[in-house]
Structure formats: structure tokens, C-alpha cells
Symmetry: C2
Subunit: 133 residues, 2 copies
């Protein structure tokens, strides 16, 4: 049996909150269809143990995702993925912000020594995958 859960990577040193890292990671899996409507998520305690954190932190992340419309969260039952109504096109401001964060992210990598070529490869690779879906 292969462990599929190792997908989630948490960095406790990171300045971004752990619960937010969980939200970001799971959201990516949800957007990409790796987690589909009907699927049950690991219980807050199980995932917490796996990540080496407290279950309440995982619970907070689940609540956030439920807020965004990804999860059905009911007392006593496992959190399950639900069909989510697609949003309308992102606003101009949001796209602007995306451009900025993208720019800052690659700049951070260049500052750390990543070559422009390597970054171009990553950007084009992701664009490729995205266009192919």
C-alpha cells in the first residue's frame, strides 16, 4: 500500500500559519480534482498526528475550507468533499495581485540562487499542465 497522504508538507519554521499551509495544500488538491466530491477527508486527529500538530489546528483548516465551499462539515461525521459552484471570473484587482505575488515569488527564488532558466522551466511546465487540463 502506498501512502498518498504524504502530499501535505508542513513547515513549522515558515512565517505562514500552519493551518493556512494545510488550507493551501488541500485547496490545490481540490482544485486539481485529486480530491473529488464524495471523498472523505482524514479525521482531524488522524491528520494532526500525521503532521505532528494539534487536531484543533487541522479543525481550523477544515472550517476555513468549508467556508470556501469545498467541504461539508457535520458534527460527528467525517468531513466530506462537496460539489462547489464555480466562481465568476476573478476581478481585475485579483489578477493584478496574482501577477504581483508571482513576480515576488520568482524574485525570492532568484535571490536564493535559482537560475532564471530553472525558474522559466518551472513556470512553463506549470502553464503546460494547466493548458492541458
Amino acid at each position: 500500500m502506498t501512502r498518498k497522504k504524504t502530499k501535505l508538507q508542513i513547515d513549522v519554521e515558515s512565517p505562514v500559519a500552519v493551518y493556512r499551509q494545510i488550507v493551501d495544500g488541500l485547496r490545490a488538491s481540490l482544485v486539481e480534482g485529486e480530491l473529488r466530491p464524495g471523498d472523505a477527508l482524514p479525521s482531524v486527529r488522524r491528520l494532526a498526528i500525521e503532521l505532528g500538530i494539534t487536531f484543533n489546528t487541522v479543525a481550523l483548516a477544515y472550517r476555513e475550507l468549508a467556508e470556501e465551499g469545498w467541504l461539508d462539515l457535520r458534527h460527528g461525521r467525517r468531513a466530506t468533499v462537496v460539489e462547489r459552484t464555480a466562481r465568476e471570473g476573478a476581478s481585475r484587482e485579483r489578477m493584478e495581485m496574482f501577477r504581483r505575488r508571482l513576480r515576488e515569488l520568482t524574485a525570492e527564488m532568484r535571490a536564493e540562487g535559482a537560475s532564471a532558466g530553472a525558474l522559466v522551466r518551472e513556470l512553463r511546465g506549470l502553464a503546460e499542465r494547466l493548458a492541458g487540463s
Copy 2:
């Protein structure tokens, strides 16, 4: 005279700390050569007023950038950009993290309604610019 300072955009609603947003924004300008060695940065108070925050928050950002080797910070004098020794190639773990953050960032945008096409355009656009430099 055109205002070149409007480059920095701060979002007080954002979960990422204001001083970190400043660091990220300035670092991008530094990496891209928009800010060159010898250039003097605006004083902490001036920039603070411009952004509508406290000067100490800007000071913290400057200290962070000095720590990274971008700035020469001396008591009583303006902060100035300094020649920075390039880093060696980024580690495999760092590139892995870059890939993850890139994936999560685009997923977040898709969740907010951005079309795959629009995101592909942004990614390819940045790759283009990066390859051309």
C-alpha cells in the same frame, strides 16, 4: 514628474505581515535591477507615511533586507543598496518548495474564478520576460 514610488502596494487585510509585504516588494525590485547598488531608499518615515503605516514597520523591513545582504544600513544615514554577492544554485528542497507554492498560488486563483487560460497567459508572460533578461 511621475511618481515611481507607487510600485509598493500594501494590503493591510492580508494575512501576511505588512513588513513582510514590504520586504517582498522591494526584493523584487532589487532582483530585477530596478533598484541598483548606490541607490538610496526613501527614509523609513517617508515611506511609512506614504504607505500609511508606522515607521518602525518599515525599519523592520529594511533590517530584514540588510540581513539578506541587499542594503547597507547605517545609523543616521539613508539606507542604500549595496552590491550583493550572488548565491549558489538553490537547493533541490527549495526548488521543490517553489513548485509547491506556485501550484498553490494558481490553485487559489482558480478557486476564485480565474480561468485556466488567463493564468496560463500570466505564467507564460513572466517566463518570457525572465528568459529575455
